[in-house]
Structure formats: C-alpha cells, structure tokens
C-alpha cells in the first residue's frame, strides 16, 4: 500500500532535507548591514554622509590627539619637542599643559601641602551619601552623614576644630530643647524653642565658646581663604552644596505653591517666578554687586558663600517646579486616601504624597542637578577661578599663551563624566524604585 503510493506519487520526498544555512544576504553581518545601513536610498545616502563625516573628524583629530606631547614646560618647548620628534611637520596636541598645571586645574591656588584635605573631604562626602544613594549602611552611617558637612567644612577651610564642633552643637541643642519643651509646654512651644534656642546660641554663644575652647585645647589645621579655592574643587564644592541644599528648599517651595494658604501660596509663586525669570548670571552679578546694599551696613561676607546661596536659591526655584509637576501628577485619590486615614498635613506629605511625587520627578530633579553643576562655570564672570577661569589664567601666562583646545577638551571631558554619571545614576534609580513592573 505504502509502496504503491510511493511508486505512483514519485515526487513525494521520503526523508527530511537537512537544515540549510540562510542565504548570505539574510543572515549575520550582511543582513544587519542591509537592514540597518542600506535599507533604502535615503538611508544609504545618510550612511555614506555619516561615514564621510566620521572619517573627516577622525583623520583630522586622531593624529593630533594620539601623538600629543605630555612633558614640556611651555608651549614653545612643546613645539620644539614636536619638531624634534616628527619631521613631517604634523600638528599634535600639547597635553603637557595638563600635566604641568594638573594641580592648579584641580585645586586652584589651594596651598599645595594641603591637597589631601579636599580629597579626604570628597571621600567623606561619598561615604556620607552612600546610605542615601545605594541604600546600605544603616543607622550608624546615617549619624555619620549628619556630621559629615561639618567635617567637610573643617577639612576644606581649616582653622580651629572647635568652630564646626560648637556650631554643630547648635543642632543638638535644638533637638534637646524640642524634646524638653514639648514634654512640658506642648508641641508648638517645642517648635518655637527649637528654632529660637539655636539661633540665640549661634548668635551669642559660639564665638566666645570657640575662643574659650581654643584657649584650653588648641586643635586646628591651617586656615585657607576662599579666594584660594579654584579649579574643579570649586566647581564641586559649589555644585554639591547647591545640590544638597536646593532639594529640600525646592520641595518646601513646591509644597508652598500647592498650598491652600493664600499668603504662603502667593509668596512661593512670586519667589519661583522671579527667580526663574531672570538668568543666573544676573543673579550672580546681583550677589557680587548688590548684596552689600541689602545687608546691614558694615557687614561683608565671603563671595563664595554668596555664590553658593544664589546658586542654591536659583536651583531651588527650578526644583520647585519639577517637584510641583510630580505632586500634580499624583492621582487625587492619594491625597484623599491620606486624609481619610486621619493623617495630618505633614504626616500625609511625608508618608504618602512626597515619596511618590519625588519618585515620579526623579528625571527632572537629576536634570536640575546637572544644570546646576554645569552652571557653576558661570562664577568665572564674578571673579572666582573655576576651571574655565583657570584656563583663562593659564592662557594669560607667557608659557602657555595661545593654548586652547587641550584645556577645553580636558574641562569638557571632566564635566561630561560628572554629568553623564549623574544621568546614568538617575536611570538606575528609576529602575530600582519602579514598583509597577516586575
């Protein structure tokens, strides 16, 4: 039966054909290239144009970049070394400016035997933010985080150790006052006391106590003035301080703008809109030119501190708008749910609303951080020596007159690394906090 069927229908195949490799044009590299680079006339043109552009850039820049000279003391020496090394008269980079001015680009005019201090301060900072950023450590590390600003301040500016310690004591006093007074007179009096006690202490107590402590036990390191700060250290100090301070301030402003209280709401709106409506550079000039008018006669405080305050206020206004977006994006039911649980305003914000709103606004918050960090370069216009200011200063010396690209590339790369790392971190954080997918 089977045989007869086979003989009559002779074209039916009886065995399986072996699997064949796909045609060359439908597999592997060729397929990928066909689909991704040459899928149509427009794509082909674009590919060729891009290849030409890449070739042009690489052919012009690569040699300059890779054959650069790393050891020389001036631009003219660099050129001599180049002419001795390469007879064909090629143009190469003079990276020697980076190796010779390395410390200056990183630390400005900070005194050379104290370079370890900013480095340690940076390490302290990273240890302090580790519990927040990567969620480990626990309670002990959290206490360290709370103390770390004072350690960093002391390391960077130096001076007597008692100043930062006694200033930090103000917060302990506030906490003690809150506890004691609340127990005896109620919560409101406790809050008022926790504000007033440290203020009085800082105004009248810190200075004499510091003098006293110094007289008994003088411990301190060399004091370094703000005007000696510079380079990436300055950018990082302004950037990090601004970032750390602007987030809480921005959240408060956002809550103020969402608030039902008429005066607080209007004040927040005016503050945010005025700050955002005017460029940062105008605010920085205000800080350097006008602040003396607004302060009590005779007071004068550090330019760097003024800049940090201005940058913080500026970033806080942008932060407030980002956080407001997050607050507005929450479903109404979350607010009503919090109310129906009987939570008061601050409890509902702290436990229910803000955790969700901040999670939604992470990309915007990190964008504001990145913007703030990039904006630290603007301080060059009011005379602080950030990396760009230092590049101008280096170019003004006779040794390095006329050097542009090497410095620009270095500064750009450093900023790129920091900003790109921040944006990658925000993507990691978003993935980590995502609760709506598994």
């Amino acid at each position: 039966m089977a045989n007869s069927a086979n003989s009559s229908v002779s074209y039916v195949r009886t065995e399986m054909l072996p699997e064949q490799a796909p045609p060359v044009s439908e597999a592997g590299v060729v397929k990928w290239v066909r689909e991704n680079l040459f899928s149509g006339p427009l794509n082909t043109i674009l590919t060729i144009l891009s290849l030409v552009a890449i070739y042009w850039v690489v052919s012009h820049v690569f040699q300059w970049f890779a054959y650069g000279i790393w050891t020389a003391n001036s631009l003219s020496e660099c050129r001599e070394v180049r002419d001795a090394l390469y007879a064909d008269g090629r143009n190469v980079a003079c990276w020697a400016v980076l190796s010779e001015r390395w410390n200056q680009l990183l630390f400005g005019f900070y005194s050379a035997d104290a370079y370890w201090r900013p480095v340690v301060a940076l390490i302290v900072f990273f240890i302090a933010v580790a519990p927040v950023m990567f969620n480990f450590g626990g309670r002990k590390l959290a206490i360290f985080s709370a103390v770390s600003p004072f350690i960093c301040y002391w390391l960077l500016w130096g001076g007597s150790i008692w100043g930062p310690i006694l200033t930090a004591l103000g917060f302990v006093l506030a906490w003690l006052a809150y506890g004691q007074i609340t127990r005896q007179f109620g919560a409101l009096a406790g809050i008022v006391a926790s504000i007033l006690v440290p203020l009085i202490y800082w105004r009248f107590g810190v200075a004499p106590l510091t003098g006293l402590a110094d007289g008994i036990l003088p411990i301190g390191i060399e004091n370094i003035q703000s005007k000696d700060f510079g380079g990436f250290m300055l950018a990082l100090i302004i950037g990090i301080t601004g970032i750390v301070l602007s987030l809480p301030l921005g959240i408060l402003l956002a809550l103020g703008r969402q608030s039902d209280l008429f005066i607080i709401n209007k004040f927040s709106v005016i503050f945010i809109e005025v700050i955002r409506g005017v460029p940062l550079i105008v605010w920085l000039f205000t800080a350097s030119l006008l602040l003396n008018y607004f302060l009590p006669p005779g007071t004068n405080f550090d330019l760097m501190l003024r800049v940090i305050i201005m940058v913080t206020l500026f970033a806080a206004a942008y932060m407030a708008e980002v956080v407001r977006g997050g607050l507005a994006a929450l479903p109404r039911g979350q607010y009503e749910g919090a109310d129906s649980l009987g939570l008061d305003y601050w409890q509902s914000m702290r436990l229910i609303i803000l955790p969700q709103a901040l999670k939604i606004s992470i990309p915007g918050i990190v964008n504001t951080f990145i913007g703030l960090f990039k904006d630290t370069t603007l301080v060059v216009f009011i005379g602080l020596l950030d990396p760009i200011g230092l590049s101008n200063a280096i170019r003004a010396t006779t040794e390095w007159n006329g050097i542009y690209w090497e410095l620009f590339i270095f500064i750009g790369l450093c900023f790129f690394v920091f900003c790109y790392a921040m944006s990658r971190y925000s993507q990691y954080l978003e993935r980590k906090l995502a609760t709506d997918r598994h």
Binding site: L261, V282, Y420
Partner: protein, 404 residues
C-alpha cells in the same frame, strides 16, 4: 447620635488660634506675612541706609545722559553721543536678535537630530546620540568659548584672501569667512523697495489665508487642495514678478577686499556667530530629546490605524502623528526657547553687546548705578519670560485635549 457639640455655639477661646484647624491656618498666614514683611522691610531699610552712607540716591535719570561708549553691533542708529537709555535699547535688540536667530536654528537642528536619532540607520542614530549627550552634558559656556576659538583661531585672516593667499571666498565670491567675522552681501534698499516688501508681506498673508481656506474646505467636503505647491508659488511668484516690474529695487553689495580688511557687505561678527551657533547647538540637543519623546509618545497603534484606513505614510505623519506629537512637544519646546533667551546673557563670554553688556555692564560701570541698572535688567528678563510663558499658556489651552 450627634455627640460632637456644635463648635459655633462655644465661645471663642484664644487657644483655638493654635489648636483649631479652622483658625490655625489664619494664624500661620499672619505669622508668615509678618515675617516676610519684616524681612523685606529690613532689606529696604538696609538699602536706604547704605545708599545714604554712600551719598547715592535712587534715580533713573542716568538713562537720559550721554553714554560715551561705542557699541560695535547695532540694529538701530547709535553713537557714543547717544544716551544710556538708547544704549540699553540697542542691547535689548541685540539680545532679541540672537535669541530669535538662535530659536530658529535650534529648532531646525533639534528636529533633524531628534528624528534622526529615531532612525533605523545605526550609524546615524549613534552619531545623533553622541551629539545630544555631548552637548547636554558639557556647560554651554564652554561651547561658546570653543566655537569662538574656532571662529577666531581656525579661520583665515583677511589678507589670506589676496592674490596668492590660500583662502578663497565662497558662493560666487559673495561670502568670506575670516577671523574677523563672516562677510556676507548687504542688501541695498533702492527706490520702490518698500512696495516690494509690502508685496512680500501681502503674499505671506495670502499663504496664511489660503491655508485656512484649504483646511476649511477639507473639513467641509473632504477635498484636499495642493497646499504645498500653491504656498510655494505664492511665496515666490508675486515677489519675483514685482522685482522685475519695479526694475530691481534691491541690489546686493558684495564684500570686497580692500587694504587689510573687507569693505562693503555686511560683517557678521564672530561674537554673534559663536553665540548664535553655540546657543543653537546646545538648545538643539535638548530640543532633539523633546522631539524624540514627542514622537515616541504617540502610540504605535495610531500609525497602524492610519495605515489600516489607507492613508499614505506622509499623510499619516501630517494628519495623525504630528498633531498628537506636537501637543507633547510644544510646551517644553517653548520653555527651551525661554532658556535660550536667558542663556543669551552668556554673551559676556565673547563680548557680544547684549543688554547685559550695555545696560548691565558698561552703563553700570560708568554711572555707578548698580541698583537701578540691575533692577532694569532683571525687569527686562522677567517681562520677556512672563510674555513667553503667557503665550505658552494660551497655546496650551488652545491645543489641550478637549474631552467631551
């Protein structure tokens, strides 16, 4: 059941100001108001004291006095005999000029880069990613300085354009890129040019009217007119015809090499070029991301549904994708325009005479009127911002998803 006593029947007690939620908000507001007012009063009082100590008054009269400095880039007549007020206006116009040019170029760059970043072409998509990340993560100030350095260091000097030099002019000897700026032909407005300009604006109006008519007709009858071709024709034909009828009222004066520099033509300074390109490339990178997210925000089902209805790809784009994507794109786009306008104050880095350099820079230095100058400067930027965001709100309300 009503165990809670009616609160209104109880007499008011002072404690309610703190413990009763109805009164507490009032208490908080009154305290906040007092603190804010005390703070502002303190600022004002300090300012008055400091001013009187320095022997200064608060007076905007300096705007009417002679400026005494030159501005190398101006859109209106100005000399060093003009007033500080006029110098401020020159600066404002320069700011608006670079902001306007920057917004246009940034939009073009951003849209192209954003669309190309979504392209299936691997190399192009990667190149655009490099562009976007490179510009977004590096300070704008650095880009301005880099482009300015390119313009001044890597371009030929005017004398290289002479016989035997290694530089040459572009586009039929009409454009010269030198380290002193780019020289382009200058239009000479002859007799009858006013009429020509009027005709041109009339044709723009005609295009707008025609497009409106075409849309109305399409909505009423479904008939689609060839909008693009008729618009193009309307744009060019009347102006060209009138140009010849009037006997060529507008001529171009080409830049020519004379002595050590180019004469004639229009000199676009390096400061303007560097600021313009840097602002455009920087903002373009942000706009590219906005465009990309706007296109991605339109769900794929919309495209598929449009194809299922038999629409061709370009009609799908115009009638289905773009209207929905634009709703997502426009608000952040306008806030980028706002950022660009504010960032144009970085003109200080390259010496472009914008409002911060004239009113907020030289005028303040010469008259010593920091307070008044900075105040006017702040008000200018604030008003510009508020106008732009006001326009944005009007637009947002116009295109908002109308839920029925």
């Amino acid at each position: 059941m009503a165990l809670i006593p009616d609160p209104s029947s109880e007499p008011f007690r002072l404690g309610q100001l703190i413990y009763d939620r109805r009164y507490r908000s009032m208490t908080i507001q009154v305290f906040a108001f007092i603190i804010i007012m005390a703070f502002l009063w303190q600022l004002g009082w300090n300012t008055v004291q400091n001013l009187s100590e320095l022997g200064k008054d608060f007076d905007f009269g300096f705007l009417g006095s002679r400026a005494g400095y030159d501005i190398n880039q101006r859109l209106i007549e100005y000399s060093n005999d003009s007033t500080h007020g006029r110098a401020a206006i020159v600066g404002i116009l320069n700011t608006l000029l670079v902001a306007f040019l920057g917004c246009i170029l940034a939009t073009i760059i951003g849209v192209i880069a954003g669309v190309l970043r979504l392209s299936k072409n691997w190399i192009v998509a990667r190149l655009m990613t490099v562009y976007v990340e490179g510009f977004r993560n590096v300070p704008l100030l650095l880009w301005i300085l880099v482009i300015f350095a390119v313009m001044t260091e890597a371009t030929p000097q005017p004398r290289d354009f002479r016989e035997g030099g290694d530089a040459s002019m572009m586009l039929f000897d009409s454009i010269a890129i030198t380290n002193r700026g780019i020289f382009i032909p200058r239009p000479i407005w002859g007799e009858g040019s006013t009429l020509l300009v009027a005709v041109f604006f009339a044709s723009l109006f005609a295009i707008w009217a025609f497009r409106r008519y075409a849309r109305k007709k399409q909505e009423a009858t479904g008939q689609i007119l060839p909008v693009f071709w008729i618009s193009t024709a309307l744009f060019f034909v009347p102006s060209v015809i009138f140009y010849f009828i009037l006997g060529g009222p507008v001529t171009l004066q080409l830049p020519e090499l004379g002595g050590f520099n180019f004469t004639g033509g229009l000199q676009v300074r390096n400061s303007l070029i560097a600021l313009w390109f840097a602002l455009s490339l920087y903002t373009g990178a942000f706009i590219a991301e906005i465009v990309r997210s706007g296109i991605l925000a339109v769900s794929r089902g919309q495209t598929e549904a449009a194809f299922a209805l038999g629409l061709r790809p370009n009609r799908t784009m115009n009638l289905v994708i773009l209207p929905q994507a634009l709703r997502v794109i426009i608000p952040p786009l306008i806030s980028q325009y706002l950022n660009l306008t504010k960032n144009s104050s970085l003109a200080i880095a390259v010496g472009y005479m914008d409002v911060r350099s004239t009113l907020g820079g030289i005028t303040i230095n010469q008259t010593g009127r920091e307070l008044e100058g900075m105040l006017l400067l702040g008000v200018f930027y604030l008003v510009t911002s508020l106008i732009i965001s006001g326009v944005m709100n009007v637009y947002n309300n116009a295109v908002k998803l109308k839920e029925r």
